[in-house]
Structure formats: C-alpha cells, structure tokens
C-alpha cells in the first residue's frame, strides 16, 4: 500500500490531482449555490418567483436541489472517468 505508484511520474500525478481538485471545486460551488443558496439563504427572495404553483425558494428546497445533487455526482463520475483515461490511471 505504502509504495509509490510506479506508473505515473510525480509531475503527472500532480497534474492529475490538480485537475481532480479543480473539478471538485466547481461542482461543490454549484452544490452549495443550489442548496444553501437557493434553498435557504436566498429562499425568501426567490419565493417572490413561482415555479408551477410553488414559490421558487420552496421548490429549490424540497425538489430542485435534490435533482441537481444527482446530476452533479454523475457528471463527476463521467468526467473523472475521462480524466483517468487521459492520464492512463484507469483500471
């Protein structure tokens, strides 16, 4: 377990990790915006708009944010799959 991965040069490993952290950061910003933003902090403002028959903040809190969570995970899995292949670290 503790031995270094021999298939990757250190600078490549750094680049792979950087790409991963960058993708995670982007997706988590969206995650925070829809849940803590749309569903909680900005909900009182968004509630002036309507989606269907529901105030928008309420809809984000009890429906919308959950759909976006699911999409975020699959997007991450799909894009990291591509990154793995790019760097030749897939299995």
């Amino acid at each position: 377990m503790s031995d270094q991965d021999q298939t990757l040069k250190p600078e490549q490993a750094q680049a792979y990790w950087k790409a991963n952290v960058r993708l995670i950061t982007i997706l988590l910003v969206i995650w925070a915006l829809v849940s803590y933003g749309g569903g909680i902090l900005f909900a009182p403002v968004l509630n002036n708009l309507y989606f269907g028959s529901l105030p928008m903040g309420f809809w984000f809190a009890q429906q919308g944010s959950m759909y976006i969570f699911i999409i975020l995970i699959f997007v991450y899995a799909y894009l990291m799959d591509k990154t793995d292949k790019e760097f030749g670290v897939e299995e």
Binding site: M1, S2, L8, A43, F58, A61, Y67, L72
Partner: protein, 560 residues
C-alpha cells in the same frame, strides 16, 4: 382476506426471501464478512447503499416530520441527500483505493496511531448505537400496528429477526439482502404515494403533482387559517436551518456504515458511479416524500377538521390507529365536533409516524397495499439495522480486538467475538427502542451530528492535506466529539438527564440537531492547527496519501 392475513403473508414472504438470499451468500472468510469480497457491481452497491441508509426514519417518520414542519422539513430532504455529493467527490474513491475493511482502519493507518484507531472505533460504535435504536423503534411501531403486538412486543420480535440477519449475513449476505430490501421498500413507498396523488390531483407522478397542482397552496392557506403555522415559509431561525442541513450532509458522508459500503465495489470508478446510483435510488423516495407529506396532511385535515367525532370514529382505520395511541381525540369543549388548531384547544393528536403508515387506508387502497407498506417499513428498518450492527461488530472484533488488543487472533476467534458483540448491541438498542429519547428521526439526527464532528474532517484532511498528522487528528476528533456530545446532552437534558428545563436551549441560535456543524468546524480548525505546530507525518504515510489519490491499483490492493 383481512389486512392482518395479507400482512402476515407479505411480511412472511419477504422475510423468507431475505433469509434465502442471506443464506445463498453466506461467507466464511473475513474479507467476505467485512467487505463482501470487494466484488459488488456499482449499481447493486447503489441499491444496497440506498437500503442501508434509508432507515425506518426515512421510510416511516420523514414524510410525517415534513408534514408537521412544512418548509423546515427541508433540513431532512436536503440534509439526507446532499451528503452523497460530498461522499462521492471527497471520500469514497480514495477510501476505496485505500482498500481495507473499516473506517477506523483508514484512520489508524493514515494517522499511524493505535490511539487514533481506538478513538475512531469508539466513535463508530457510539454513532452506530445511537442510530440503531431508531431502527428498533421503527420495527416496533410496524409490528404493533400491523400485527397487533404492543410496541414493546414489536421491538422484541424485531430484535430477534435483526439478530438472525446480522449473524447469518456477513457483508456479502447483507449486501444482496439489501438490494432486495430496497426493491420492497421503494415499491411500498411509491404505490400509496401515486394512488393518493391520483385521488387528490389526477396526476400519477407525485413530484409533478406536488409542483403543479394547487394542493400545496391550499394546505398552506388551510394551515394558516386554523392557526397551525405556515407551510411554505420557515418558522425557524435561518442559522439553525443552515447548521442542521450542513450537520446532516456532513454526517451522512461521515457515517461509518455508509462509507464502508464503498469498500465493497471492485475499483475506484465503480465507487464513483455507485455514489450516483445510490443518490438516484434515494432521490426516488426523497423527492416523493414532500408530496406524500402534503397530500396525506391535506387529506387528514379534511377528514377531521370540523367533523362530528362519532362519524370520524366510524372509520375503520381511525379505530385501528386509535388503539395504538398514535392517533387520539379529545372533545375538550364537548360539542361533538372536532377542532384542529395549535395549543390547548386542539382536539386531534396525530403522531407524525402515522402519516406514511396510514396513507393506504386513508386513500382507500386494498389490503395487499397496506400489507406492502408494513413490509416496506420493516425492510427499511432491517436493512439499516443489519448494516449498523456489522459496523459495531467490525469496530470491536476487527479494529479493537484484532488490530489493537490481540493482533495474532485467529479468524474463527474474531468471528465469535464479533457475533457476541452483535447480540449485546441488539439488547442495548432494543432498550432504547422501547424507551426512545425522541422521534425516530430525531434520535437518528444525533448520530449524524456526532459523525460529522468526528470522522468527516479528519478523513477529508487525511486525503487532501498531506501535512495533517496524528497529533492533529486525535486532538480534532476528541474536541469535535466531546463538544458535540456535551452540547447535545445539555440541550436535550430534559429527555436525557431528566432535568425540568434544558440546561442550555441553544448555542448562538443553533439547536441540538445542528450543533454537529460547530463541532465539525472545531475539528477542522484544531486538526489543521495542531498538525502545523507539530512535526510532519513520516514519508511512508505521505507516500500512502499520494497513492490513494491515484485510482490505478485499487483492484489489486491486497488486504494484509
């Protein structure tokens, strides 16, 4: 056929199915017992994770809590789904690459410390105990209502069945049983929700009916008129809603029985995708719950409010729920007409837990559907209980007994220790199931607070910050855990210590369920600061961190 007969048949058939699957997948080696031989496909692990994690609280209590809380029920909806984003992006792939059996395994190896391993194991046991008590309560409620036992009797029956599962299964047996249990519980949840949605709105998709029909605004108006509070807008402090949601999200990502499911897949890619499948399967129930909450509550208010008590008592489902004590009428002003409102004048007491369980009867569905809901509630409770009991058992028999106390212990001996532990755990959990500290979902919420204040920060820093060392992690974990436990104890002292008033009602506006967020922040800050003030971790540990960041080699990672 009567509902009772249907219930015996459907519960009997599903139980026989679980036992058969568990028996077919029984294992004898520890790798099979703890991590299912690491051969579970991503989609199956997603379904197993969904069943493992959707507890009696999710199935039985959540829609009821949401219906009582309105907008504020959001804390459970977002809190219990958003954590999967954190889990899949920040934890699961790297822990899978690490490739051992338990969460304390990672903590102990990453922080090269038996103290860290022991603290993690004790935290895992504590968290799982807190959580499993809620499952026992759920089992008791289902048995008492549908099979005519008292709640105490129901809990005891549940204890016997759960004991059987946990000892028989091992992780491999538990995994495939959970896949079956997911199928049962999701069908049992969706059928009545769809039926009620059609009855009230004519739309068969509850999520669409929730968004586009006028039931939600109508309920909101009705509630406001009756003085029951707003449904669409918050009745709580924003900081509290924020803190509780974050505590539940980070707690989900830090719960040992959820994390350990990601050890069972073949590689890192499968770990990422099974996070997506898990949340998709969970989301099916969680996006339905708010619709069910609204439809059921609207329906109950229309049935009771301003109706003659004698007429209401003629309904057969009202009679059977009154017997359980979860539904109660008290015609205080003696006019023979029921009044629903807030405070002393209220004449109808509806326990939140009956919202889901009574839906099929209220919607006038036939006996088999009522029985299916009972089977679904039991599937949710049993699948979660078996996953938790495995964590308690592996923490004691693998992490503490084998890795700390007696490193040379043979496998057979470790299995005996693990099984004795499970039996003891079930007895303690059963006691708390009979004497619950609060609502099922609230009991469970404490486990989340403790998980988010202990594991979540040190696992993340262990992966993303090479400089985090043993001293930092131990200090952070102890402070986070102690702070959160003491705060919960003081805020819930009425229930837990028997004081007349809570010793501390809230901490800067944050209540007991959200206090884990503060514990988590403390843990992050202290782990980070103490690590920077003490020496860097040894080179081989830093190499290990480099290694878990690269997916290749996970399939070959041999557990020593």
């Amino acid at each position: 056929m009567s509902v009772e007969v249907w219930t015996y048949i459907i519960v009997g058939v599903t139980f026989a199915g679980y036992i058969w699957i568990g028996y077919q997948n029984r294992v004898r080696d520890t790798k099979g017992f703890y991590v299912a031989g690491q051969g579970v496909p991503a989609i199956a692990n997603g379904a197993a994770t969904a069943a493992d994690w959707m507890s009696a609280a999710s199935f039985i209590s959540m829609a009821g809590l949401i219906s009582a809380m309105g907008y504020d029920g959001t804390i459970y909806l977002m809190g219990w789904t958003g954590g999967y984003v954190l889990l899949t992006l920040l934890l699961a792939p790297y822990l899978r690459k690490f490739g051992k059996y338990t969460v304390p395994d990672f903590v102990g190896d990453r922080y090269y410390s038996q103290t860290a391993r022991t603290v993690a194991a004790i935290a895992a046991i504590f968290v799982s105990f807190t959580y499993v008590a809620g499952q026992m309560r759920g089992v008791g409620i289902v048995f008492s209502r549908f099979l005519g036992l008292s709640i105490t009797g129901g809990v005891i029956v549940g204890m016997v069945i759960v004991a059987f599962f946990a000892v028989l299964g091992g992780m491999k047996g538990i995994t495939w049983t959970q896949v079956a249990q997911y199928s049962v519980l999701i069908v049992a949840y969706l059928v009545p929700a769809i039926a009620l949605s059609v009855v009230l709105t004519g739309n068969p998709i509850p999520q669409l009916a929730f968004t586009f029909s006028d039931v939600v605004p109508k309920l909101h108006t009705l509630q406001t008129d009756l003085g029951l509070g707003s449904y669409l807008y918050s009745n709580r402090a924003t900081i509290d809603v924020f803190a509780i949601t974050l505590a539940l999200m980070a707690g989900t990502a830090g719960l040992p029985h959820v994390i350990v499911r990601f050890y069972t897949v073949p590689n890192v890619r499968a770990a990422r995708f099974s996070g997506g499948w898990a949340l998709l399967f969970i989301g099916l129930l969680y996006t339905t719950a708010p619709s069910l909450a609204v439809f059921a509550k609207y329906n109950l208010i229309s049935t009771f409010e301003n109706q003659p008590l004698a007429e209401v008592r003629n309904l057969s489902w009202v009679q059977s729920w009154e017997k359980t004590g979860l539904l109660a009428f008290d015609d205080k002003n003696g006019d023979g007409i029921l009044t629903m409102t807030k405070g002393d004048a209220n004449e109808v007491k509806i326990d939140n837990d009956i919202i889901v369980l009574s839906t099929p009867e209220v919607a006038g569905l036939a006996g088999p559907v009522i029985a299916l809901v009972a089977a679904g509630g039991l599937a949710a409770a049993l699948s979660t209980a078996s996953g938790l009991l495995l964590v308690i058992s592996s923490s004691l028999s693998h992490d503490i007994y084998y890795r700390v106390l007696k490193p040379g212990a043979p496998e057979s001996e470790r299995l005996i220790v693990g099984r004795s532990v499970i039996l003891g755990a079930i007895l303690i959990a059963g006691y708390f199931g009979i004497n619950p500290p609060g609502f099922v979902a609230e009991v469970v919420a404490f486990a989340f607070g403790l998980a988010c204040a202990s594991f979540f920060p040190i696992i993340i820093l262990g992966i993303f910050d090479k400089r985090t060392n043993s001293q930092g992690a131990i200090a952070g974990m102890i402070v986070g855990l102690t702070f959160t436990a003491v705060m919960i104890l003081m805020m819930r002292s009425v229930q837990l210590l028997g004081t007349a008033e809570p010793i501390l009602p809230s901490f800067i506006g944050i209540t007991a369920q959200g206090i884990g967020t503060v514990g988590m922040i403390l843990n992050f800050v202290i782990t980070f600061a103490v690590s920077r003030m003490t020496e860097a971790p040894p080179q081989d540990i830093q190499d290990m961190v480099e290694s878990v960041r690269i997916p290749r080699g996970a399939g070959a990672a041999i557990v020593k």
